[in-house]
């Protein structure tokens, strides 16, 4: 259905009302920048596209794959994409450095990151990570590791050796790392698939430790949102509809994703486990479909606090300006 949202400019609201009533309007182009190559991590977006949710809203979506050298914030700020899938912590620091971006929806609600150690190393408690080599991905991603250490009584500056982890798990397999970071939707399975047994691993969860930072979030340029509020609303709405669909029809969603992945680069089985993991992050226990994509104050605040505490951002984040809750609310 169509809802008239609060809109800054009469122009766009007029356009919005017509486009939602008449179907033969030309579709509006919209580019969404992913943070990585096509995979089930973005199943909601692919499902929305495939199932025509975007089209129903009068949008023609172009999904732009990411890669190791893509900086989502720069892409969005440059206009190379209208929406981007970034991380909330990353958004905060980019904003802190002057990039006029806002988050319009929060895709994942829980941290996907885990710390892994092999049982054979004997590191079964955070305290035993003292003086060990801890691998993580840097960028803005090391801060919850720091918070995790501090929470567990270790001085993140002195007591551990933080080391950059590549996008393979070879350092972990080769014992170049004592503790490695893994996403629950990919690297964790990469480790399992390589023959390491679940019971041979110690897994540490940031959420359990209360130091989780928010990840996958939909960002847009501030003035773009102001000018295209209606389009933003529709795009977010369709995306979340896509996520709900993907979570409820996981087999089909994986098939949809598999159409977009580069043939031969991954297996259906791998993507199936990935989507299963993602589903729990996007719609954790206790979440209703309506809540998918929403900002949970507590998580937002925790993310901002950790960012500030460990110097990721220099001044307290202006959370009001950092996220635009009205987009999702405008149902």
């Amino acid at each position: 259905g169509s809802v008239k949202s609060v809109s800054m400019s009469p122009d766009t609201s007029a356009a919005a009302s017509t486009s939602s009533t008449t179907k033969n309007e030309p579709l509006k182009k919209l580019k969404i920048q992913l943070k990585w190559v096509p995979q089930a991590q973005f199943a909601g977006i692919y499902a929305a596209k495939e199932k025509g949710f975007y089209k129903d809203e009068g949008i023609d979506v172009d999904i732009v794959p990411g890669g190791p050298d893509v900086i989502i914030e720069q892409q969005v700020v440059n206009g190379a994409a209208d929406l981007g899938v970034s991380s909330f912590d990353s958004l905060l620091v980019n904003r802190d450095n002057g990039l006029p971006l806002v988050s319009v929806a929060q895709v994942t609600q829980k941290s996907s990151y885990r710390l892994l150690s092999k049982k054979s190393t004997g590191i079964d408690t955070p305290a035993k990570m003292k003086d060990k080599k801890i691998g993580t991905w840097m960028g803005s991603q090391q801060f919850q590791v720091l918070a995790f250490m501090e929470k567990n009584g270790l001085d993140p500056k002195k007591d551990i050796q933080l080391v950059k982890q590549g996008f393979t798990m070879d350092q972990f397999f080769g014992d170049q790392l004592d503790v490695a970071t893994a996403t629950i939707y990919n690297e964790y399975y990469v480790v399992l698939e390589s023959g390491v047994k679940e019971e041979d691993l110690n897994v540490f969860n940031f959420d359990d430790a209360g130091v989780a930072m928010l990840e996958d979030t939909l960002i847009a340029k501030k003035d773009w949102v102001d000018k295209n509020r209606d389009l933003a609303v529709k795009a977010v709405r369709a995306t979340m509809k896509g996520w709900i669909y993907a979570i409820e029809h996981q087999d089909e969603a994986v098939d949809i994703v598999m159409k977009s992945v580069t043939a031969g680069s991954t297996t259906k089985q791998h993507q199936t486990t990935m989507l299963k993991a993602m589903a729990k992050l996007v719609k954790p226990e206790g979440f209703t479909n309506d809540q998918v994509g929403s900002f949970v104050d507590e998580s937002v605040k925790r993310t901002a606090d950790i960012a500030l505490q460990y110097g990721l951002i220099k001044k307290p984040a202006d959370l009001k300006a950092s996220l635009d809750t009205t987009i999702l609310a405008a149902k």
Partner: protein
């Protein structure tokens, strides 16, 4: 000391490839069976397993390889054009050369990840930006070698063109560019395989397809994909080989006057 004839040389390359592949299998065997190192597959997998995987995924690899090869071709053309133009501009005067050199060198120090935001910011066009980035990676070797070629013109030949009051255009067209051809080809031969790298790098900037996407994906998805990863490495080397060899042929065809291509030893002088 002449180069072997193209056909013969093709056979020689084939022998080299065979030898190197044997060496690969042997080293892999050492790692796997003899030294029992950790992660032998990540260090160097058995070649036959890679080849099996290569065979299994041949259609995909060929498709993605051709895509990357095509993009590399575009990047190579753009990069060569930039390199040649820069070298020509720099050869116009010593002052221009001294002025431009530091910028040319400095430009090479900007990694794609730093360049991309600026390029996108300037061009606002992802396709154009990608083409420019591919060109950016390949132009330097061409420029340096072309410049050397342009500087290698015999002073007396320049005097001849001066005595003919040849325009700058003519002295380039008829003297300096032909003289620079051997240098140019040296540069092109270096940058042709580099263009493959460039187009893969550009794929890392977010492309839906290509060998590069296959490469990072197979790294990211871990052990299950390790043979796929090495297949992509082999494919990129193979494309590089083909592009280099095409230039070897092109050089022979376009510059048959070069000493090493001449039919029989010497003339009368």
């Amino acid at each position: 000391m002449k180069w072997a004839k193209p056909a013969h040389q093709g056979a020689v390359v084939a022998v080299w490839i065979a030898l190197l592949l044997l060496l690969w299998e042997f080293i892999a065997w050492l790692l796997h069976a003899l030294m029992l190192v950790k992660l032998p597959d990540s260090k160097l997998p058995y070649l036959h397993k890679v080849i099996i995987s290569l065979q299994d995924n041949l259609p995909v690899l060929i498709k993605q390889g051709l895509l990357t090869f095509g993009n590399a071709g575009i990047g190579f053309l753009i990069g060569s054009a930039i390199g040649i133009s820069l070298a020509i501009i720099m050869s116009l005067s010593n002052t221009v050369e001294l002025t431009l050199t530091p910028y040319m060198v400095a430009s090479q120090m900007i990694p794609i990840i730093g360049l991309a935001p600026i390029l996108y910011g300037i061009l606002h066009d992802p396709d154009l930006s990608r083409i420019m980035m591919a060109g950016y990676v390949t132009f330097f070797p061409v420029a340096i070698n072309m410049l050397r070629g342009l500087h290698s013109v015999q002073p007396e030949q320049i005097e001849l063109m001066r005595s003919l009051a040849a325009s700058t255009w003519h002295s380039y067209l008829k003297l300096k560019l032909p003289s620079a051809m051997p240098g140019l080809f040296a540069g092109l031969k270096i940058s042709a395989p580099l263009a493959i790298t460039a187009s893969i790098i550009v794929e890392l900037m977010g492309a839906p397809n290509g060998i590069g996407v296959l490469m990072i994906s197979s790294l990211y998805y871990g052990a299950a994909q390790v043979y796929m990863f090495w297949s992509t490495v082999l494919v990129s080397i193979a494309i590089g080989l083909v592009s280099f060899y095409l230039l070897v042929l092109l050089e022979r065809w376009l510059t048959p006057w070069q000493p090493e291509f001449r039919e029989s030893g010497s003339g009368g002088t």
